[in-house]
């Protein structure tokens, strides 16, 4: 390929590129980076709602010391990890199996895919409302069918710690399994058919083809999808806030929801910020892992 003569599209040394990126960069710096730094800053103050920030005392690192000894923080971290473990495991197993079963292009596939992504497009608030209705002890359809089909007595789904936890896991699986499915099926269809055919010629059976050829080849896609879901588990709070408010007790209170309740229900803005710092570190750590695996904005000419 002939090397194209370097045309001065963007005069080197001029400020033109900066003029193009400036509005977006300023908006992101003030709307996203500033809050992150502000969370760090506020975590050193004993600030509560109704008091002027100027009157709040600095407390040094004591919020952080309190945090590591706070049984509530440990409890919600455990709830978050347990929730993450169940939803991610089940969504991965279901999403990947379905993608492997249905990867062959067939007539009408696009209509089905359109339907599958609908749960992903529904607002979290609405997801919470729908499933709160379905799991409702009195009016809920789930109790009705459990009774009609299996003769079960009505359960107070959202009023029992274990059942409520099951309910939010179930809801998350309904909404997010399609995400894994869509990503994995895109990965499978991007695989070169030559490798698959070669493995067929070598006598690999269906199982060997899946576990020794296909899955290893889309390994990085699987890991990225997993990390994205893990980040979502740490970010999410809206569905639980609507369905259960985190309860009963703290059985469905994920880390993000706990920060929200600390800040605006118990009104401890400073302490909530300290827990938010923990959340930022977790999420940035996971994001960096994703960036390390695939950085879409890195071009080969990058220095």
């Amino acid at each position: 390929m002939p090397t194209t003569a370097a045309k001065p599209r963007w005069e080197p040394g001029t400020l033109t590129p900066y003029a193009f990126v400036a509005p977006a960069a300023i908006l992101m710096a003030t709307g996203l980076l500033y809050p992150v730094f502000m969370a760090f800053y506020l975590s050193f103050f004993d600030w509560e709602i109704g008091r002027d920030l100027g009157d709040a005392n600095t407390v040094g690192f004591s919020h952080f010391l309190r945090m590591v000894q706070d049984p509530q923080v440990w409890e919600v971290l455990w709830v978050t990890i347990r929730f993450g473990f169940w939803v991610i495991t089940l969504e991965m197993v279901l999403g990947i199996s379905l993608a492997l079963l249905l990867e062959k292009p067939i007539r009408g596939a696009s209509i089905f895919r359109t339907i599958f992504i609908l749960p992903l497009m529904v607002s979290p608030v609405v997801v919470g409302l729908i499933w709160r209705y379905l799991f409702d002890a009195r009016a809920g359809w789930i109790n009705y069918y459990l009774n009609a089909w299996f003769g079960m007595e009505p359960l107070v789904w959202l009023g029992d710690p274990e059942l409520a936890f099951f309910a939010i896991v179930f809801t998350d699986i309904w909404q997010w399994t399609p995400f894994i499915f869509i990503i994995i099926i895109a990965g499978l269809q991007a695989l070169s058919s030559e490798v698959i055919e070669a493995s067929e010629i070598d006598g690999a059976n269906w199982w060997q083809q899946i576990f020794l050829v296909k899955l290893p080849m889309i390994k990085s896609i699987i890991i990225i999808a997993l990390l994205m879901r893990l980040i979502d588990v740490f970010r999410g709070l809206e569905v639980m806030l609507i369905m259960t408010g985190g309860g009963p007790g703290r059985s469905t209170e994920l880390l993000s929801l706990h920060i929200y309740k600390r800040a605006f229900e118990t009104q401890q803005l400073g302490y909530a910020s300290a827990i938010a710092v923990l959340l930022i570190l977790v999420v940035f750590g996971l994001s960096l892992l994703i960036l390390k695996m695939s950085n879409p904005m890195k071009t080969k000419s990058d220095v």
Binding site: I117, I130, Y145, F179, I182, M228, F264, M297
Partner: protein, 276 residues
């Protein structure tokens, strides 16, 4: 041959089952919103055979809840967020994809990193800022935050679309002495319509669906639809017909987008993990 048709039948059975699972809860919401009190209070869930009524919609739109105001608020906030994000995000993605400048790599990486900032982290500082600056109950503050939140993903999506356009197309215009801004508007923008459509859908959806920040930053007159729907449960007692009517109104725009641009939405969703 027989084997093939058995296989096909089994494919479609699984697919139809999955489609039913995806659709059923959404249909429960839509159908509940169209039922009268008698049907709602009945002993058995009714899926299809009932006489639809618009009572619930009439109740929420003419009731004392100011639902019409909230609908307009949502449209204003989501609409302006989308316009500003596409305008500035487009400029930024264009420069990132075409120009070499000091700080380019830093900006690109920072953009990808702040993409995931959790809403719970933004909530407290945003609340603090609103108190300190005294701009309570303002749709502007909400639009500003939504724009900031939407920009990283929009930039990243648009960057991919700009990269797909061969730079040779711009040569002629550059030789004619066109400035980067002229190249952007005359050469690139006409080729970017699908890119802007995808980025626009994702941005609109973020702003339209967002709940936590809207809950904190809006007052009685500046609520958006998700806040109105959620507070209806606590303020008015649980009237499922009306709540589901609100839910249905919230879901309409995303559903329309999905049916018209499912392919592009899937491309946007998978872009993070699957390359090419």
């Amino acid at each position: 041959m027989k084997n093939d048709s058995v296989r096909l039948a089994y494919y479609y059975t699984v697919l139809i089952l999955l489609a039913a699972i995806s659709l059923a809860p959404i249909w429960v919401m839509i159908s509940t919103s169209l039922k009268d009190e008698v049907t709602l209070q009945g002993d058995t869930p009714v899926w299809f055979f009932f006489v639809p009524t618009m009572d619930n919609y009439q109740a929420i739109l003419t009731g004392r809840g100011k639902f019409d105001t909230y609908l307009i608020n949502s449209i204003i906030v989501a609409g302006s967020t989308t316009v500003i994000t596409l305008l500035f995000g487009g400029f930024c993605a264009y420069a990132l994809s075409r120009a070499k400048f000091t700080g380019r790599t830093f900006l690109a990486n920072a953009t990808l990193l702040v993409r995931m900032v959790p809403p719970a982290v933004i909530a407290v500082p945003a609340f603090a800022f609103v108190i300190l600056a005294g701009i309570d109950n303002d749709l502007l503050a909400l639009t500003f935050l939504y724009t900031a939140i939407s920009l990283p993903f929009a930039i990243w999506l648009l960057f991919g679309f700009f990269k797909q356009i061969p730079e040779e197309l711009e040569e002629a215009a550059i030789v004619d002495g066109a400035s980067p801004l002229q190249v952007f508007f005359r050469v690139l923008l006409p080729l970017m319509s699908s890119g802007y459509a995808v980025a626009g859908i994702f941005t609109f959806r973020i702003a339209w669906n967002e709940f936590i920040l809207a809950l904190l930053l809006t007052g009685r007159n500046t609520r958006t639809l998700p806040v109105a729907a959620a507070s209806h449960i606590t303020e008015e007692g649980v009237e499922w017909g009306r709540i589901m009517a609100m839910g249905t109104l919230i879901v309409i725009p995303p559903l329309i987008f999905t049916f018209f641009a499912a392919k592009q939405i899937i491309a946007g969703m998978t872009a993070g993990a699957v390359k090419g």
